[in-house]
């Protein structure tokens, strides 16, 4: 077990390092080819005083000569940036000169909340529906579950969001407000947009909606891997032992089908960020997805790099957790 964990940890660190370097190299290339983003500081149209430009370049770490040589990997600024990150310094934005670390402390928790709700929704729904369909294989329930999930999954998530915001949110909010009042859990739950005073409550509904992305895939995965185990020899043994059907499902089928499911969940989690861009946009949630989208539009190089770094860290972490869960679930992996 110990060796397995250490090996996975080292792999995760290496992956992260390579990702960060590629990210750095791509942005360096874009500066080298497209020109100096420091000009943006001056509004982009006027030609600034060279002394002032140099000062601004120093401020944003663009003062290295390597940025003028296309193809140069710019290792010195890369190492400097990593050192700054390690010290907790994420730099500032070009426009407004805001501390990026401070922005992150607002955006990251919001996106995490969104992910928590969407992951819970996805896993719970897929597990229940998949198990249900597997137990009634070939029957009406099986076909209904598969049909419905694929229907839900085929509707683009922004469409569900817009339908919710424009059709359901207002009447539901009014109804809840009349019964429980505005300053209550129910009064806030159905709001069509984010409210910073209720950061948890107002993210539940968007989280549930994002949670339907990938529902069909995961439900099918659950169903397929359970069917595989239901037909297995050890389930026949469990029946021969006189165990109840419910115990066979929980003890001998569900746990054995968890490995492909855990993989699927990790995969969807990594994908959820793209869903977050849309959801955070439509529901007005200040989160990472919206931040990265706007940073790209406004050519905020530093903000883009920081945002993508955070994303990379999250994806690597989730993959690591998935790998460790494998070992927890399957003794054959634990004792390799």
């Amino acid at each position: 077990m110990g060796r397995y964990v250490i090996r996975r940890l080292l792999q995760a660190l290496l992956t992260l390092f390579i990702t960060l370097f590629l990210l750095h190299y791509l942005t360096a290339l874009s500066v080298q080819i497209r020109g100096n983003p420091a000009l943006l500081f001056f509004g982009g149209e006027r030609t600034p005083d060279p002394a002032m430009l140099a000062q601004v370049e120093r401020l944003y770490g663009l003062d290295n000569n390597c940025y003028e040589r296309p193809g140069d990997p710019c290792l010195v600024p890369f190492v400097e940036r990593l050192q700054n990150y390690a010290a907790g310094d994420f730099g500032t934005t070009l426009q407004g000169n805001r501390d990026v670390g401070e922005l992150l402390s607002i955006y990251i928790p919001n996106t995490l909340r969104l992910f928590i709700f969407s992951t819970i929704t996805l896993v719970v729904l897929a597990m229940l529906l998949g198990t249900w369909a597997a137990r009634h294989r070939g029957g009406l329930i099986d076909h209904t579950v598969r049909g419905t999930t694929i229907l839900i999954d085929s509707i683009p998530v922004f469409l569900i969001l817009l339908a919710y915001v424009y059709i359901m949110a207002v009447p539901l909010t009014n109804w809840a407000r009349d019964i429980w009042g505005t300053e209550s859990f129910m009064g806030q739950l159905f709001r069509p947009n984010y409210n910073p005073d209720y950061p948890w409550t107002t993210i539940i509904i968007p989280g549930i909606i994002v949670g339907t992305v990938g529902l069909a895939t995961l439900t099918r995965l659950v169903r397929a891997s359970q069917l595989e185990n239901i037909g297995s020899d050890f389930v026949r043994t469990a029946r021969a032992k006189g165990l109840k059907k419910s115990r066979i499902t929980v003890v001998h089928v569900v746990r054995n089908s968890m490995i492909p499911i855990v993989t699927g969940v990790g995969y969807t989690f990594a994908f959820a960020l793209s869903g977050a861009v849309l959801t955070e946009g439509v529901m007005g949630i200040p989160g990472m997805g919206r931040m990265i989208f706007q940073a790209v539009q406004r050519q905020e190089t530093n903000l883009v790099i920081v945002g993508l770094t955070v994303t990379a860290v999250v994806v690597v972490l989730v993959t690591l957790v998935v790998d460790l869960l494998y070992a927890v679930l399957d003794p054959r992996i634990r004792y390799d």
């Binding site: 297995s232 020899d233 050890f234 043994t237 029946r239 115990r247 003890v251």
Partner: protein, 346 residues
């Protein structure tokens, strides 16, 4: 195992201890696949008494494993359906019982050892958990006590260092040791009937002998009825008391092991016996039964064995289904010429 003694009537209402331990009477099983009905067992009958060993012998596809699954009530339905007959345990027809009673019978009264212990054990749970599960589910034993019982059982079936091995997982055991774990699991609740479905097929020869000895010894100690399902008559010779030979879903011959080996009354049994490799026939070509086992979806007319039979009458055997002929006391064969074959006249 004093605490294992219990009143049979508690878990099996209506049980009559004077009735035979297990009687299978005209059991019929069919598989329904895409509207077609394929017979797998076509009226199998045999009786098992306490302390006796019945060998059920047959080629693959002869219906012997399906019979054992039907007795246990663990047939996959669909596609398998029991369509007739009775399975009486202490005189109680199990096929007429509700699912809850049948579930209690499994493990408590009848237990089974499967062929391939690697796939028959759940890879994700320790062997101790899988054995202890029986006590916890059927007896409500605590987790710690169930573990203690599991250690005792592992010890009983000859697994060295049982105390440490109890927490190990199936993949950490060798093939023979895994089969011992399976046996320990089957013995947990001290069943009266143990079905061993090809228990040694997946093992190498020396380990096979060890496992057979273990089964025999446990059976003697506990006075269980043992049904030994196998395709290997050689394995059967030393351990079985009676034998039921199955062919195409029917029991074609029933006899004591001695009679079956000495004077078989069915041409198929005779052919099987000739096909056993023996030390005194070294150097001679091994006899085989010509042809293949019939496809249960399209059985030959008349006697299903006639196309492969060396004693068949081309007219009679291909048109008339053979009757059960009693050739001697407790020795019956399903053949038109059973008496002639028995007397070695055909």
């Amino acid at each position: 195992m004093a605490e294992n003694v219990r009143v049979v009537g508690d878990t099996l209402p209506g049980a009559d201890l004077n009735a035979p331990l297990l009687e299978v009477d005209d059991l019929r099983v069919e598989f329904r696949v895409r509207g077609k009905r394929i017979p797998a067992v076509r009226g199998a009958s045999f009786t098992l008494e306490r302390g006796r060993t019945l060998a059920v012998v047959g080629e693959s596809g002869s219906g012997k494993s399906v019979t054992s699954q039907a007795i246990m009530g663990i047939l996959d339905t669909p596609p398998g359906y029991v369509t007739g007959g009775e399975v009486r345990l202490h005189g109680v027809d199990l096929l007429k019982q509700g699912e809850e009673t049948r579930r209690t019978v499994r493990g408590n009264h009848i237990a089974i050892v499967f062929q391939d212990a690697l796939s028959a054990l759940n890879p994700l749970w320790s062997v101790g958990f899988q054995i202890g599960e029986l006590y916890r589910v059927h007896r409500g034993t605590s987790r710690a006590d169930a573990r203690k019982r599991a250690i005792e059982l592992l010890d009983l079936v000859g697994i060295p260092d049982a105390k440490n091995r109890v927490g190990h997982y199936p993949h950490q055991f060798s093939g023979g040791m895994r089969q011992r774990v399976m046996i320990a699991m089957a013995l947990a609740l001290d069943p009266e009937v143990l079905i061993a479905d090809e228990p040694t097929t997946a093992l190498d020869v020396t380990v096979q002998a060890q496992i057979m000895r273990l089964l025999k010894q446990i059976q003697d100690d506990r006075h269980m009825g043992l049904i030994l399902i196998t395709h290997d008559l050689g394995v059967v010779a030393d351990v079985a008391d009676e034998v039921a030979v199955m062919y195409a879903g029917e029991v074609v011959e029933r006899a004591s092991i001695h009679d079956a080996f000495k004077r078989p009354a069915h041409p198929y049994t005779k052919a099987l016996l000739r096909a056993i490799p023996r030390v005194d026939t070294v150097g001679r070509e091994l006899e085989v039964i010509p042809g293949l086992p019939p496809n249960p979806a399209s059985l030959p007319s008349g006697c299903p064995f006639h196309p492969r039979c060396w004693a068949a009458d081309p007219e009679k055997c291909s048109t008339e289904a053979p009757p059960y002929e009693e050739v001697a006391e407790d020795h019956r064969a399903l053949c038109h010429f059973a008496k002639e074959v028995y007397r070695d006249e055909r």
